[in-house]
Structure formats: C-alpha cells, structure tokens
C-alpha cells in the first residue's frame, strides 16, 4: 500500500469520550453461552486488541459491536447511543473488516468501492473510489474483477471498502490472516495511521506478540468472559498466553 491519505475524523470526540460501552453483554447461540456478562469501555481514538483462544467469543463480540447481531442481554452503546440493528445513523460511523472479503467477486475493485460509497451516501463516490484505489495502490487494476485478485490484493480492496465512508470506528476480525509479510507491514502501517488520525480501532487477532506491539490496550476473553482489560504496555506475551490457554 502506498502512503495513505487517512482523513481525520470530523466527529472525533475528546479522548475521554467512550466510543464503545459494553454493559453486561451476554450472548447465547443455540442455548450455548458464547459471551458472559462482558463489560468494558473503549474510549474514542483508542486502539484495542481483543485476544483469546478459539471459541472464546471474539468474533461474536465483534459482530455485536458491528450491530450485525444483537446481544442476548445487556446493552451496547456506541458513541453514547444505544446501538441496535436499526441504528442506521450509527452504522454510518462503523466499519468492519472480516475473515472474508465482503466484496462482490464479479465486480471490479472500482465498482465495489463505488457501490459502497453510494450506499453510505459519500459525496462524489467515483472520486472517493479513485482516492481509495490510490491509497491501496491498485489503480492500475481497478477494472479487474475482484475474483482475479490474489489474497493480498483482495484484502487491500476489502480494507478500502471498509474505509470508503471514513468511519470513526474500525472493527477488524483477523485482518492479517493469509497475508504475506509486505502486506502485513503495509496493513500495520495503515492501522497506525488510522489510529493517529483519531479513529477507534478494535482488532481481533491471533498473533499475540503483534497485537501487543501495535495496539495500546488489550482485552482478553476466556470462556466468554473478560479476564484481562489492561493497557498493552503493562502486559507480557507470556501473561496473555497463560490466560488464553
């Protein structure tokens, strides 16, 4: 990826304002408890990583944060407002990068970006799509269908798609999965830039060392409960490993 032109959030709050408030959130699926009484507050502009072993509810938590699924009980507040699936205005401020690309494989990179720019009501979607293509360094292949791209290129388009509406909150579910070393470096750099621009970032990641290095705060889940909620500079990889096992 080239040097990005990340826009500072026009709605950026003061650092003490909460971007996310999880108030006693529980989630059960098919009568199996995935999350149990999760309570946490993430201030605006903070870069948080969520860690935990497989099946501890990290991705479920991210889906709840993105308003894709509702909690079974408890309350989610985003930017001071109660968030539900019908919170259309709140969704305008959120973006999700998932395991999968969330792109139409038969559309080109440009068409995907323009489509989502239009759906988010971005002024001049064509110009914004071109701007994002420049950011991810794929202008030369902007007309190729996404299905012809490599995993790394698809991930770059997926990130551009997520950022096309300049969200305040970026939720990333294992965005480094399947990327080669240069792409990982580029993505780390982009996340750092977004953080500097005042965006709130929530990163679910399996690589504990990497997470502790790039994020400023860590939440560790075990058995669907929060067992660690600390700034990363106070944590050691060994400490986290003992919690996630």
């Amino acid at each position: 990826m080239t040097q990005t032109q990340v826009q500072s959030s026009p709605r950026m709050s003061t650092p003490v304002d909460a971007a996310i408030e999880l108030l006693d959130i529980s989630k059960s699926i098919d009568e199996r408890a995935i999350l149990r009484s999760v309570t946490a507050t993430i201030p605006s502009g903070q870069f948080v990583t969520i860690l935990g072993a497989n099946g501890t509810g990290k991705s479920t938590l991210l889906k709840i944060l993105s308003t894709l699924i509702p909690p079974s009980s408890g309350e989610l507040r985003l930017f001071g407002q109660t968030a539900t699936a019908t919170s259309v205005d709140l969704r305008r401020r959120i973006a999700l990068i998932g395991h999968q690309s969330m792109l139409y494989r038969d559309l080109s990179a440009r068409e995907n970006l323009e489509l989502f720019a239009k759906l988010y009501g971005v002024a001049n979607p064509t110009a914004r799509a071109q701007q994002m293509l420049n950011v991810i360094g794929l202008s030369a292949r902007s007309s190729d269908p996404v299905r012809n791209f490599s995993r790394g290129m698809i991930q770059r388009v997926a990130i551009a798609r997520a950022l096309v509406h300049n969200p305040d909150l970026l939720l990333a579910d294992e965005p480094f999965a399947g990327l080669d070393a240069p792409s990982i470096d580029a993505l780390e750099h982009l996340l750092a830039q977004l953080h500097e621009a005042g965006k709130t970032i929530v990163l679910v990641n399996h690589d504990i060392e990497q997470s502790l290095r790039i994020a400023e705060h860590a939440i560790v889940l075990r058995g669907g409960r929060v067992v660690v909620d600390q700034p990363t500079h106070r944590l050691y990889e060994r400490e986290i490993l003992s919690e996630v096992r």
Partner: protein
C-alpha cells in the same frame, strides 16, 4: 430510492457479467416445457387452463433456482454482512432483491411462454393481454414470497429442497386463482372479473407487505 436503484443496478451488472442465473434458469424452464411436452404429447392442442398450469410448473421451478442463485451472490464472501452494515433500511435490500428477481423471472417467462405456445400449440390469441396481466400479477406475488424465503433459507444448509417446500404451498393460492381465471377466459370464454383480479392484487399486497416487514428479521449475517 437511490439505494434501491443502486442495488438493482449492481445485481443486473453481476448477472450481465457472469450470466449464471438467467442462463441456468432459462435452460431449466425450457427443459421443463420440453419434458412436459413429451410427456403429455404435443399433438393435442392445450387450452388456456392447461397452458397456465404447464407454464406455472416451469415458472415455479425456474423461480426457485433464480431466488437461490441471486441470494447466493450476497452470501459469497460474506458480502451480505457489508450490505447489512450499510446505513440503509433493510427493507431497501428486500425491495432491490425483489425487483432484480422480478426482472429475471419475467425475462424467463418471456422466453418460456412462447416456447410453451409453440410446443403445445397454446391458443392464447383470444385474450393475450389478459393472460399476460394475470400471469404478471401472479409472478409478482411469487417473487415477493420467493425473495423473502430465499433470504431465510440461504443461511441454512438445506437450501434447494427446503426453499421449494416452503414456497410452493404458500404460492398455491396464486396458482389456483390464476389457473381458474385462465379457465374462465379460455375455456368458458368469460371476461375476467374485477373481483378475481382483486384477489390476485390482494395476495400480492399481503405478500409484499408482510415480506417487506419481516425481511430484516430473517436476514442472518
């Protein structure tokens, strides 16, 4: 409205590019007409009542395949999650999907119906506009239900069989009313009454309203 048009344009662009849905659905529709033609015998002319029934078989099976294929586009690569996160009412997604499906099914009907006319020697000349109008109203209701249930079933592993099992019984009133109307028109030579058309319109309105209202509850990312 802009979001609806944007999503319909997206669906049609994808279809124009890969031609997977329309091609498959048309082939299936023509195959059904052919099989029925061979089974029933093509020498005897079929009246409008039977014509409607034969065509309904082709529309129903082609429609189910169409609904599945168009919803699969949203399921691939979890793109539905991105769509659900967009700041648009989920009813907008339903309307766009419905209109996209309607365009495809009407395109199939535009090919399958003349094929049936040629194959079976249907004589629709007595009331071609009535035939087209009644079938279009019926297909609208069918598409309304099909779009809703395809979204519901798409998160299940059963898919194909389950979708047909759910849609066919619910569509039955539309099939019965339209075949009865065609029987009155082509066999008995009676004009289509406003009350009968009103029944079809009522079914359409109920199916459309209920589907639009519940769509957001059946969508799972």
């Amino acid at each position: 409205m802009n979001a609806v048009l944007t999503l319909i344009a997206k669906d049609l662009r994808i279809e124009a590019r890969n031609r997977q849905t329309l091609g498959l659905v048309m082939v299936l529709g023509i195959l059904i007409i052919t099989v029925l033609g061979l089974g029933l015998g093509t020498q005897n002319n079929v009246n409008g009542f039977s014509a409607t029934a034969v065509l309904w078989v082709a529309y129903l099976f082609s429609g189910v395949l169409c609904f599945e294929k168009t919803m699969a586009v949203e399921r691939n690569d979890a793109v539905l999650s991105a769509l659900l996160m967009a700041p648009i009412d989920r009813g907008v997604i339903y309307l766009a999907k419905l209109l996209g499906n309607l365009v495809l099914i009407l395109a199939v009907a535009a090919v399958v119906t003349p094929a049936g006319v040629l194959f079976f020697g249907f004589d629709l000349s007595a009331a071609p506009i009535t035939f087209a109008g009644v079938m279009a109203l019926s297909i609208l209701g069918f598409a309304a239900i099909g779009t809703l249930f395809a979204a519901m079933v798409s998160s299940s592993r059963l898919q194909g069989g389950l979708l047909a099992m759910m849609i066919f019984p619910i569509t039955l009133p539309l099939v019965l009313v339209s075949t009865q109307l065609m029987m009155r028109t082509f066999r008995d030579g009676l004009p289509v009454s406003a009350a009968s058309v009103g029944v079809l319109v009522a079914f359409d309105l109920i199916f459309l309203t209920v589907s639009w209202l519940v769509f957001e509850w059946v969508l799972e990312p």
